[in-house]
Symmetry: C2
Subunit: 404 residues, 2 copies
């Protein structure tokens, strides 16, 4: 099947042509959405129609892939879902939001059955990789095709054999390391760029493989998975998870995802104090871009963690001081930086073959609403400068005497 | 002029009857708003009409006063404005928002002329007092008539003579002290309840008296005003204000309002680190009710204050630790309190003549959307318990293992 999209008003004209039998038919995108899509997704036509009219389902055309992107969830269909209109229609479901527990002990016992699988939660960016039109394509959490990840993931790991045997599976994992364009974090075992898989899920249904089957399959194909700390009895789980999270925190690692080994119950996440502070530090480096939205949930996590660990006065004081420092130090550093006539910006390092690839990537970031330009390119290493505009503008304004 | 309001749909019927000539006419409230009010307020009819339709201008009938309450600003007419429909129409304009500077030095010089008047900003609640239908009535910031303040203000200070001579002025001031129903703060010179006046403004126009005339008038009538620290040359102002604010902070006082002595330029406010921390502590005592909205602006103030004071590493560390403690300590205290099966509530002390007055006041709070009940009444002292419902509910839920 081929799809063509009319040019005048792209969402008005929509053609299908079967490449094997040459049967073709034409439909408008609105009627595809209200007539064909409901059958594919098992969602009420009215809900899809409304979402499309509200601009939450968008036509997407990039990197040679045309499709429908879900900017918000519709019924059980997750935000970030992509309906790829290629040789056949491929439905790459959005990665489900993993809920968080603030109190390990009660929630783990309430939520799961006899046992839980505990895996490491890594600090990078969530990627889904799938075979679309016989090409390996990487999607960001929001359902955008990332040109950089699409290029890099196959360089980091060999997925050909896996996808040959399992064209209908989606690899869900975290791109991690110090040189990636979204979330950089140092892991000694990874260095600049690495990938760790945490789920294998079916296209269309989003059904995840059990933890055991997933690990077995990934090891068979030589694909890297996140660390599985073990399958733990529910009664020992809270204590064991606390030990793990505290140990991970000491190594400046993020935390854990707690799963039903059968993957029939939704997973939960729990994170280290160091992760909370790291995020507050980042947020207050660019306070007017991220401070308001990042801050609150992180300090709430700290409060409940201190409570559940029944910390001493001394331990609580240390936690309080750490949070205060995570807020004030980066903020003052940025105020000084902007006062010296700089913008509040961060430099992203990516490795590309040529300047054009770097510029393509900067354009991709701009498509996502990020202010980004190629700052330099040399010996395959590009520096993309990402400017945090609200922080730059508002701090400059206050420094000049602007009122709050 | 008498006004009557129909009973079936209160905003539909609206009668005027002149008490001297007996001329009467009837108009619907919508047509009063789009035809009479624009002339009184010098605002475009369409803007008033829209605001009324959106529910931002409400009919108000309480404590024997009927009127129109502005829940949001319309053009130059401030939120909190009340159009009182009594023997005559009295327009009590909302108290204008005082903007804040984050950087004293540039903004004071940009904003003002040769001199500034510096007055203390006190930590209480903003009240406007005016003569309506020959009665002294106290309005809250939002334009609600506060039964308690209306009763207490005349007990605290003698306003009869002032209003006899100046029926067209509005007394704007702060109700302060440890036993008031809204914002309690200890001032050694005030104790349980006191009032300090900062502005005298004309009804209808909202024009403020100059600082000199205001102080003279208040002293003539023996009415209490906020402290005027002095009229300061603009070049010395930033340094002098910093000295004042640091000294005020040491005494756990809030800060200053910086005014054009002629009151022709809008005032600015600047506050102490102790005030910021005090508010963060309050907010994180009830984190799910106030934490999110209170927090951000307070820490931003701390960042700029530390920067402008060019603080040493040690001073910045102290500031950071103080903020962290202001967040974590109250939050953990409240988590423990709720874990012991209590609600997150605060007790408000008011002094009333009888139980009915206490119950009237609790009802007034509930009208404002506050969960409040009379907890006890004895010897003229009522305790009103105010429950912070979101904090209580969400903390209980997380403690039981609820997910975030």
């Amino acid at each position: 099947m081929q799809t063509h999209v009319g040019k005048t008003k792209s969402h008005k004209n929509f053609f299908f042509k079967c490449s094997s039998c040459n049967y073709s038919y034409e439909t408008s995108m609105p009627s595809f959405i209200s007539e064909e899509l409901p059958k594919l997704l098992e969602v009420k036509p009215a809900n899809l129609k409304r979402s499309f009219e509200n601009g939450n389902i968008k036509f997407y055309d990039n990197q040679g892939i045309q499709g429908l992107q879900f900017r918000k969830s519709v019924g059980r269909i997750e935000s970030g879902t992509m309906i790829c209109l290629g040789d056949k229609i491929d439905i790459i479901r959005g990665f489900p939001k993993i809920r968080r527990t603030l109190m390990l002990s009660p929630s783990v016992k309430i939520h799961f059955n006899q046992e839980v699988a505990v895996e490491e939660k890594m600090n990078g960016y969530n990627v889904r990789i799938a075979l679309i039109n016989n090409k390996i394509i990487a999607f960001t959490r929001g359902g955008y095709i990332c040109p950089y990840t699409t290029k890099k993931a196959p360089e980091i790991m060999e997925m050909e054999n896996f996808f040959m045997d399992h064209p209908d599976l989606v690899i869900c994992g975290e791109m991690v390391g110090t040189e990636n364009p979204y979330v950089t974090h140092h892991y000694r075992e990874i260095g600049k760029l690495g990938f760790r898989i945490f789920d294998l899920r079916e296209k269309a249904s989003n059904k995840p493989m059990s933890v055991f089957d997933k690990v077995e399959a990934l090891e068979f194909y030589g694909l890297p998975h996140v660390e599985l700390f073990g399958i733990i009895d529910i009664n020992e789980a809270p204590e064991r998870i606390f030990e793990l999270v505290i140990e991970l925190g000491r190594e400046d690692r993020e935390g854990v995802v707690i799963k039903d080994p059968e993957m029939k119950i939704e997973p939960l996440k729990y994170t280290s104090s160091q992760a909370h502070n790291g995020e507050i530090q980042y947020a207050f480096t660019y306070p007017f871009d991220f401070g308001r939205s990042f801050f609150f949930s992180r300090v709430i996590r700290e409060g409940f963690q201190a409570y559940e660990l029944n910390e001493s006065e001394d331990e609580i004081r240390k936690r309080a001081h750490m949070i205060g420092e995570s807020i004030i130090y980066p903020m003052i550093r940025t105020i000084k930086h902007v006062a010296d006539d700089n913008s509040a910006s961060e430099d992203i390092i990516i490795h590309v073959d040529n300047l054009k690839e770097a510029e393509d990537f900067a354009r991709h970031l701009r498509d996502l609403g990020v202010v980004a330009t190629v700052h330099s390119f040399r010996d395959g290493k590009a520096i993309i400068r990402r400017v945090h505009q609200s922080t730059t503008d508002r701090i400059s304004n206050f420094l000049r005497g602007g009122l709050y």
